[in-house]
Structures are given as structure tokens and as C-alpha cells.
């Protein structure tokens, strides 16, 4: 912005065109962005790398199926448990959510736990989330899905170890 304002104030000075090309176009136009972008990209990729799901023993596996009415959650450790609109997870342990859909495209998003990932017909996308503390976290569908879209929200409930065991045994409410 400063660069933009200055030429208005400055008296005309004589520069030869070739030098100006070198300063403005090659210097500021080419070299400067390349350096900045390379740094940014490296940063982005390294963060992205850390967000990737890695295998580990204490990973909990759950499934989330989007529907126009609600999200249906299934649990690998408790095959006969399904919940609607609430995802129960243990706090402090990584959870892999296998995301898919029964109808149109949705997107699974719990802003405080992770970025969003789409639920696409016929595909399963896996998202790694982890809640540091027990509590409720708001989740939303983040891909437009027609008239009920704004109401397509869900909750992630993170339990402490005891609460999680209770849930798996089916002892919750």
C-alpha cells in the first residue's frame, strides 16, 4: 500500500526502463513471492502431515453416516450401539471417524476438534479427531444439502475413561 501511495507524492525522477524492469518485475515480482510462498508451503505441509491419521494401538474407530435428517454413528468397539446426532468418544485418545453418506454429499465438521471432511456417496473418508478434555463439542454439516441444511448439526460428547466404558457397555442413559 505504501508503494502505491508514494508515486503520487514524488517528483518525476529519471530512471532508465531496463533498471526499473529489474527492480520491479524480477526483484519484487518474481523473487519476493517465490521466497515467501516456499516458506508458507513448507509450513502448511508440515502441519498437514501432523494432522494425518497414523495407526496406533489406542485408536478408537467409529463410523459416521450422513443423512438429510441426521448423522448416524456406529462404533467398532460396540457393534450393537448406534447413536443419532451424537458422537460419543473417549477424551484424550485419538479417534478415527469413517465418514460416508446415505444420500447427498455432506461434510463432517467439528470446528474445535479438526478440519472438515466430506461424506461422499460410495466412498469412505477417514478423519482423525482427538478431544483433550471431556465435554460436549458442537459439530456441523458443512456442505449445502438443500432445505434442511441449517438444522443439520450434531454433538460430539467426549467422556472420561470411566464414562467411555459405561457407554460401551450400553450403560449411558
Amino acid at each position: 500500500m505504501v508503494l502505491l501511495m508514494l508515486p503520487f507524492r514524488r517528483a518525476k525522477s529519471k530512471h532508465d526502463e531496463r533498471r526499473q524492469v529489474r527492480v520491479w518485475i524480477i526483484g519484487l515480482g518474481l523473487v519476493f513471492p517465490i521466497v515467501v510462498l516456499a516458506a508458507l508451503l513448507a509450513y502448511g505441509l508440515s502441519i498437514g502431515e501432523r494432522l494425518l491419521p497414523r495407526a496406533g494401538d489406542d485408536v478408537v474407530h467409529v463410523g459416521a453416516q450422513g443423512r438429510l435428517s441426521n448423522w448416524t454413528i456406529t462404533y467398532e468397539n460396540a457393534p450393537d450401539q448406534t447413536t443419532e446426532g451424537t458422537l460419543h468418544i473417549p477424551a484424550g485418545r485419538p479417534v478415527d471417524v469413517a465418514i460416508t453418506t446415505a444420500d447427498v454429499i455432506h461434510s463432517f465438521w467439528v470446528p474445535r476438534l479438526a478440519g472438515k471432511l466430506d461424506a461422499i456417496p460410495g466412498r469412505v473418508n477417514v478423519l482423525r479427531i482427538e478431544a483433550d478434555a471431556p465435554g460436549d463439542y458442537a459439530g456441523l454439516s458443512a456442505e449445502f444439502s438443500g432445505t434442511g441444511y441449517d438444522r443439520l448439526i450434531f454433538t460430539v460428547t467426549a467422556h472420561d475413561a470411566a464414562g467411555w466404558d459405561n457407554f460401551l457397555r450400553g450403560d449411558l442413559e
Partner: protein, 696 residues
Amino acid sequence: MRALERHRKLTAIWASESGLKSWFSTVNHTDLGRMFLVTAFFFFIIGGLLAMLIRAQLATPQSAFAGPEIYNQIFTMHGTIMMFLFAIPTFEGLAIYLLPKILGTRDLAFPRLTAYGFWCYAFGGAMLLIAMVLGIAPDGGWFMYPPLSSSIYSPGINTDFWLIGITFVEISAIAAAVEITVSILKYRAPGMSLDKMPIFAWYALITALMILTGFPPLILGSVLLEVERAFGFPFFQVDLGGDSLLWQHLFWLFGHPEVYILFLPAAGVISTVLPVMCRTTILGYGWIVAAAVALAFLSFGLWVHHMFTTGIPHMGLAFLSAASTLVAVPTGVQIFAWIGTMWKGRPELRLPMLHLLGFFFTFVIGGLTGVMVAVVPFDWQAHDTAFITAHLHYVLFGGFVFPIFAGLYYWLPHVTGRRRFFRLGELAFALVFIGFHVTFLAMHWVGLLGQRRRIPTYAPEDGWTTINLISSVGSFVLAIGIGMILIDVVLHALTATRGRRNPWGAGTLEWAMTTPPPAYNFASLPQVSSREPLADDPDLAVRLAKGEGYLGKPRNGWRETLTVDIASGKPDMHVIYPANTRLPILMSAVTGVFFLSLLLKFYWTVPLAVAGVVFLAWKWVWILGRRDDLEALPVGLGVTLPNAAMTGRSPGWWGTVFLLTANATFFGSLLFGFAFLWTVAPGWPRRSGSLPRSLN
């Protein structure tokens, strides 16, 4: 022959019919360019009104202003109108109006095709407007993702209006792109070699080539989706062997280049207007052209960044993230070339310059947020929130609307031949600038707080109320500003103060004529020896009017011009244009019948319409055909040229080449789709027994 007599004779040959009739039969690029621009601004107003409705709805929580069914139509139509019915046609109109003048010739390559394109646009746009008035407008968002847009989840006719209406409008874009490409390559003033071409022509050429390669994937996608909806062939339905991601690929294969298809012509306007406002010439002409070409190529490799959240493999993401940030490099070259131009010259704060500064400020912010969303982890959070909508408006409004306003005020005296009398423009600019930034800064913010895009309402507990209200107030300030610009322009056109010729002291050829421009542009065609012929010879206009250039003697009632060798600009052929005709409007009306029949499922009229188009196309060619051979003719200044129709490489031949280019990308996309379904789709090959619905 005196200048006045020459003017009378040429006008008799080139003029459109008088009165209302002229609208339907004109093939003159000045008329058609103006018609394009006025229609496009009409759609800009409609789209803007829809935006006001959106902001009215979102101003308060739990607003009952419009129900979700209506609201979904409103934002879908806002996006669709702005992208397809305002922005692209504005480029086409500007290029059609300006190119022959800035290139120093008398018309575009295929005058009747220009008219055909205009009418396809007008009819297609009217179809969408009618759908909107009837309350059955498309409602799936402007990118129409299946399966939401498939017949199961959107059974109504709404989606068909989009698919068919937009394809119809797309025809006009393809027509204009062929037209523009051939015109720039062949129809220039003698002596204007490629490196002496005004920079606007370079941008227009690159944009037109991008339209020819960028639009076919979308046309293909629309055709496939419409076929799926109408006949049950499962291209995008996973349980029948298709894949909904194929649509996303095809759509963004078009959608990402689209952003550059909008930005490049705007950059062309900037590169033309900015040096004049700074009383200098553009810095680094060659660099800018190279940057534009690089941008065009890169933009085709980037579409997947709209699909970062679809679960693309990680390596692919890394690569695409790198490529997405890479586009910032040629963009940076352009921006700094412009800033360097300002340093080189002495900028003056005239009205177009204000809008250019508005562009710089807004676009740079848009670029920064763009680099942010190119970083994948950030995009995973920001995707599909109001942050993205805000970013997109910084790029589109900053990168397109501000430069277009600059161009509007720059060329307005050319269109009207008048001087600005009321000084409304400065105030209007201030309102637009302030209103815009208030609206969309607030939307960035509320997006970061988690407001999703496309939601009709939100709850008071969300805590977004104040910010949304601020944003809505900003948008109304913006609307008032745009309204004032319109009033300013209308007043300008009505007040009777004649302006001087070349009021800005520009060096390009469009100012070497009387304004408003005569139907034939130049009484005789100039011989060009630099990039700024008018700067070298301020009396050029007078000399051309006196007939001191090529083709200064009207003969046989012919509309004559000449073409040049592509690279060197040496004159190589003599061209006779067709005269006024109603054929284009007729043909696009019949084309419209074809699309309407598909839309309303009156399949028996489809073959009739096809036959009609074929018949008219035959007449089209027939009128131009000559039964006698034309000798080589003298064109003035001692040059004799063969007639184009008598040579192998006629303009028509070139037109066909570029049309085939578009066809080739269409089939290329088809192959891509097939390969995609074959290798990537989860449900392919089809399980047995799942024939299309219509077949079982």
C-alpha cells in the same frame, strides 16, 4: 473525395437499419458490443438486488424474510447470474465493442456470429429470469453438486433450468471466443505485428483461448447430468456405477479457470487504463504477456483446490497445494509491473484511477486470503464458511468489478462522445469502496467464528448477530454507491456537453476516430509502426478521415476491410463483410426452441428444431457465397490483395480451427470422465441388473 463525403458514403454502406428494427438485424460490432454491455449490466442489477435480499435475510437471526426454499433459489441465482450472465458477457461485450477499434480495423471476423451469440445470451438469460419470476429457479447452489441436483433429491424442473439455460448461454461464450480469437489474430491494422499489439488484445486473446478450453468440460458435465436426470443414465449416481465426484472434477475444471477468465480481461483494462492515468507507457510489456500466459496454463492445473475436503490422497494434496500457491507468482509479476508503471509515470487521481486504486487495495487482500486457503489445513477449517464467500468477493469484486468500473468511466466518453458534467462518480466510488469493505470484512470475521455459507438463518445464541448486521448495513451502502454510478452514467449519456476527441490523451487507436464512433470506425485504415500510433502522430485521426490510409475509397456498396499475416502484421487478404440480416436472431430463436423442447420434454419438437438450425445454417453460408470469381483488388497505398474467399486460409477456415479446438476439449473431457469412472469410481463396472431406469 472530401472527408465529409467519404463519411456519408461509408455510413450509407455500414449503417444499421434505423429505429427499433436495427436491434434485430444489426451485425455491427459497436451496436452489438453496446447491447451486450447494457444487457450484462441489467443482469448485474438483478444479481445485486438478489444480493440485497440475501443480506436482508442474514441481517437478523431467525429471520422470517424468506423461507429456505426461496432463500436457496435466491443465493443460487445470485451466484449464477453474477458469474454467467454478468461477468462473462461483460468481457464479451467489452471485447466486441473495443477490439476492432483498438486493433485499427472495421469490424470483427464474423459479424453475424456476434449477433447470434448475443441472441443466444439474451434468450438463455431470459429463460433463467422467467424461472426466477415463476419461483422455480435453480436452488442447488451455483455449483450444482449431484446427487443433490439429481432427479432423486431435486425432482422439480428447477435444476433443468440451470443445466439447459446455462448451456444455451455457454454457446454464446464459445461463439464470442471463436470470434475474438480469429479477429485478434487476423483482423488488425497493417503493420501491427504481434509485439505491437495493444496489451488489451493480448489479454483478450488469452482469455478467449481459455474460454475455448475451459467451458467445454462444464458443457459436457451439464449434458451428462441432464441426460441422467431425463433418461436415467447413471453418470453421477454411485449405486448405479457412476460417481458424484466426476461432476466436481468437471465443474471445477471449468470453475477454476473461470476465475482467471474474469481476471485476465480486467487485467487487460488495468494495463490499458493505468499507463494513461500515469502519463506513461506500461512497464515490462513482454513480462506482462508472459505472466498472463503462465497464469492461463497454471489455472488449468489447479481445479482440485476446490476439492481439498473431499478426501483426495495426501500426496496429491501436497502437489496441488504447491501449485495453488505457485499462481501467486505470475500474479505478483503483474501487480508489480503495474506498481512499477505508477512509479515510472506521474499518476493523476482522475475517476478511473480511483477505481484502479480500489482494485489494488481489494485484490491484494483477496490474494492474501487466497494464499491462506491454499494452505490445506487452513482450508479444512475455512471451507464452506462465510470466510470463503468473503474471499471470493474480494477476488471477484476487487479483481473484476473495480477494474470494469475503471474501464466504464474511461471508455464512456468514447461511447457517448460526451463529457462528464455532474460529479457524482467520486462520491459513488467512496460509497462503493467503504460499503464493500464493511460488508465483506465482516463476513470474513463471522466465517472464522464458524458461520457456514448458504444457511438461511442462525440462532441468536451463535453470537453472530452484530457482525451480520454490520455486514448488511455495509452492503446497503455498497448498493447505494452502485445505484449512484448508474445514475451518473445515465446523466452522462443524457447531458448535451460534447467532449473533445481523445480526452485522456491516450495513444491507442480507438481514440483515432470521432466519438461516438461511426459505424465503419475508420474512414481509412492506418499503417501502424508502434504500440501507440496515436501518441506518435496526434493528427492521425484527421489523416485517416481524409482517406490517407488503406481502403479509403468506398466501392460497390461493399463493407470492406483487410486481414494481416498473424505474426508480422503484413496485409494479406481483402475481406467483404455480410450486411445487416435477421438470420442470427432467427437462428438463435430456433436454437432456443431446441433447448426449450428439451426442458419441457416435448421431444417431438427437438428434431424439428435441429432441422431448422441446419436449414438456417445452410442459408447463412449461401448468402455469403459468390458465384463469380473475384480478382485481386487494389486496397490503397499501392497494395493489391486477393479476396479472402478465393484463398485456402480464409477467416472461415481459422474459425473452424478454433471451433474444433473447443470440440477437442469437449471430447477430451469425455475421455477424462470415462477414464475417471473406470479407474476411480467406487461402483464401476456396473453391477448387473442395474440398467438405466428408462430401459427397464
